[in-house]
Amino acid sequence: MARRAEPISALPGAGAALIVAALILGTLAAVALRAEAGRGFAASDWAALRFTLTQAVLSAIMSVGLAIGLARALARRRFLGRSALITLLGAPFILPVIVAILGLLTVFGRAGWISQVLMFFGLEPLQIYGLHGVVLAHVFFNLPLATRLILQGWQEIPAERFRLAAQVNAGPGAMWQLLEAPMLKRVVPGALAVVFAICLSSFAVALTLGGGPRATTIELAIYQAFRFDFDLGRAALLSALQLGLTGSAAFVALRVSDSEGVGAGLDRVLRRWDGDNHLARGLDTAWIVCAALFLILPLAAVVVAGISGLFLLNAGVWMAALTSVLVSALSTLLLLCLALPMAAAVATRRSTLIEVAGILGLAASPLVIGTGLFIVIYPFADPFALALPVTALVNAVMALPFALRILVPRAREVMMRYGRLSLSLNMAGGPFLWRVFLPRMRAQIGFAAGLAAALSMGDLGVITLFADPDVATLPLQVYRLMGAYQMEAAAGAALLLLVLSMGAFWILDRGGRWHAEA
């Protein structure tokens, strides 16, 4: 086969994809091979499958639907605190689930702020437990991510297009039809797939807010198969089912997303002329205020609960915090080593398989990966000694799907705009990478790295299987404090975690956006 002329090779990307697929599928196989004959599928597993799909579909539609409105409002408005708000949008995503749930309940719970106002007026308190509670929490977690992904799409439309549209007097309708709708058609399926996949493996949220066994998810079934039955065969089977579901969702989403870029611009600052009327301004303001309240109030609850606990933190918590920072840094580095070549490979040759490999990390159960790695590592080395690098690697793979959603559209665009020009200037390989590709990807790399760092900081997955008391990460320490009735100290540690995650996200994201204004 003749090689297509491209400024960078797709081989490193394919290699990275192979590593990721081997890690996820290999650990699954390791678990399956260790299995004795299990009890196979039960009727309750089908019920779990139904519930899992229902809540994931609803959560994805709600999160992305609301995110379109919010992203549009944010794309059209410039206001004081806009960049702080966008950074804050990263926060719900990285909190340990239990902390986020307690924050949500402080606002929406039976004894929460809203219920108290309602009861003051003689109304019934909110009833949050049930499918709607699960969806509410998932929207809280995922609306910010979906918004950022879609906002990226808006920012990728060259400013010149809007200028041109304004010059020919195109109204909001025409702008929507010509510029915005095609962009959404490209970005939304990917965002839907990501949110769907995240919600698919939901466990603690679905269980706690679902109100009981009705809200059983596949992930809980996997957990039970491991923890109580030690039925590795069943765990592997359920895990394969989960992978299959996410894999096909991702495949469909990637197929329908249109990879046509929007054309070249001069990277000018975006200005919008179509939103300069009262109605549009009012509408956008309403969107932003409502979303900000929805996202910030539960975070404020976490802060309020945590402040007094900050003084109770001891050396163990600070050590755990340091460990988390190190793991997070290593994880971010690993992520970039995997994601950048993969994004470049996808951009050069539209390889859906590479993208699917990237998205598998979302559906893989951390419990299965952790156990599989344990089985694989155990004969050769002490899993305890490898706890931190393994955690960092698994966190990197878990963050990969998000990173690819962020990097790929921009990588395609850069390749399309500058690929042929660079080739004609005989600029391929290293020079293209350093002078053209990476500088233009800077904002996206920063965002992806920030997200990966924050996600890794808040993760409580594999570490639980490999943990040794000396290497606790901060989320694990939060759980340990709660288990020892130290609720106030746990709240303080959770606040510290929030601050660290936000800090890591802010520094990396900011570093990447040195000239952009988003």
């Binding site: 719970g109 004894a111 269980l207 706690t208 066994p213 109580f228 299987l465 008391p469 020892a484």
Partner: protein
């Protein structure tokens, strides 16, 4: 030489340990936390054994068992501490455990005859509520008839959740499904583990939470807060007995047996009440700490024998799922 020692030496972290025998104990996370019994236990045992005691936290009780099964006979662990009687039958069935040989004059409400597992503490499950609550139910049927809201833990992911299943089963036998059907509308929600449930209760999401009769002692002693109480149920309260056992493949069998005997000694037992917030399996000479006398004493102690609990688990879980899924 063990890999862990090897790795530690290579990393230069603790080269000196290579000459000292090392005893590895797998336990649950809260045991090893700074507020748990771990630090005091480690200090006291190392002072007398001339060894390095390595306490390793591995999730909760059920996760511990899974971990041991996963590692099999090649496990680095010498002792597993933190299983309960709902898990011991499954643990014994693995054939990975040896006899512990520890002897003690136990102060458990029942005779202890298991040669494989020795108890280090115990407690009663109970619903904890705010002390100022009115009309606190005195049995499951009254609870079901009341409009008290409760938070419980999922028996598929937590040991207290499983304990509640056994409690209802031990108290009501074949009537259990009907009791669960009546209780269903009192259950606000079911959580993955104890921490989540207790957090929800403290946040005011429910009137009562499934915990232990000793939980109020924590608030009273450590926080000087007398606002929590446990509801006394006339059917009796199900017990959780936490045990430890020696792994047959241990490369330090003598040290492991020393540890088991140390576990039921005064030094270990006296730190249990105010670190693990359970009753010690051998009451220390100094008695229980001040504050424990305020706790309720159940009229009846319920505990299904280990083999019976294991046999009942699947059917009880099925009944529970049925009643609460409706």
């Amino acid at each position: 030489m063990k890999y862990s020692v090897f790795a530690a030496a290579v990393l230069g972290a603790s080269a000196a340990y290579a000459d000292t025998p090392e005893l590895t104990v797998y336990t649950y996370d809260s045991f090893v936390s700074d507020w748990g019994p771990g630090p005091a236990v480690e200090k006291a045992f190392e002072a007398q054994c001339g060894c390095d005691l390595k306490l390793v936290g591995a999730g909760d009780g059920a996760a511990l068992l899974a971990r041991v099964k996963l590692e099999g006979a090649r496990s680095d662990a010498d002792v597993v501490l933190g299983l309960d009687t709902n898990l011991t039958a499954a643990a014994a069935a693995t054939g990975l455990f040896a006899e512990h040989g520890a002897t003690a004059d136990y102060s458990l409400p029942l005779a202890w005859e298991d040669a494989t597992f020795a108890p280090y503490d115990w407690g009663y499950f109970a619903f904890v509520h705010n002390a100022d609550a009115v009309a606190v139910p005195t049995d499951f049927k009254a609870l079901a008839a009341s409009d008290m809201k409760i938070v419980i833990q999922d028996p598929r992911s937590s040991t207290p959740g499983l304990g509640l299943l056994m409690w209802v089963k031990a108290a009501y036998g074949d009537e259990a499904p009907a009791v669960w059907a009546d209780l269903a509308d009192n259950v606000v929600t079911v959580t993955k583990g104890w921490s989540e449930a207790y957090g929800l209760f403290l946040d005011g999401e429910a009137d009562m939470v499934l915990s232990y009769t000793t939980s109020p002692a924590y608030h009273l002693i450590a926080e000087d807060d007398a606002t929590k109480a446990a509801a006394a149920f006339d059917e009796g309260h199900y017990m959780q007995v936490e045990v430890a056992g020696i792994l047959a493949a241990s490369d330090q069998p003598e040290l492991a047996r020393d540890f088991m005997q140390f576990m039921v000694s005064e030094e270990f037992q006296s730190v249990i009440p105010t670190t693990n917030w359970m009753y010690p399996s051998v009451t220390p000479a100094s008695g229980l700490p001040e504050g424990f006398e305020t706790l309720i004493t159940p009229v009846k102690s319920l505990l299904l024998p280990a083999t019976e609990a294991a046999a009942l688990r699947d059917s009880a879980l099925g009944e529970w799922l049925d009643a609460l899924s409706r």
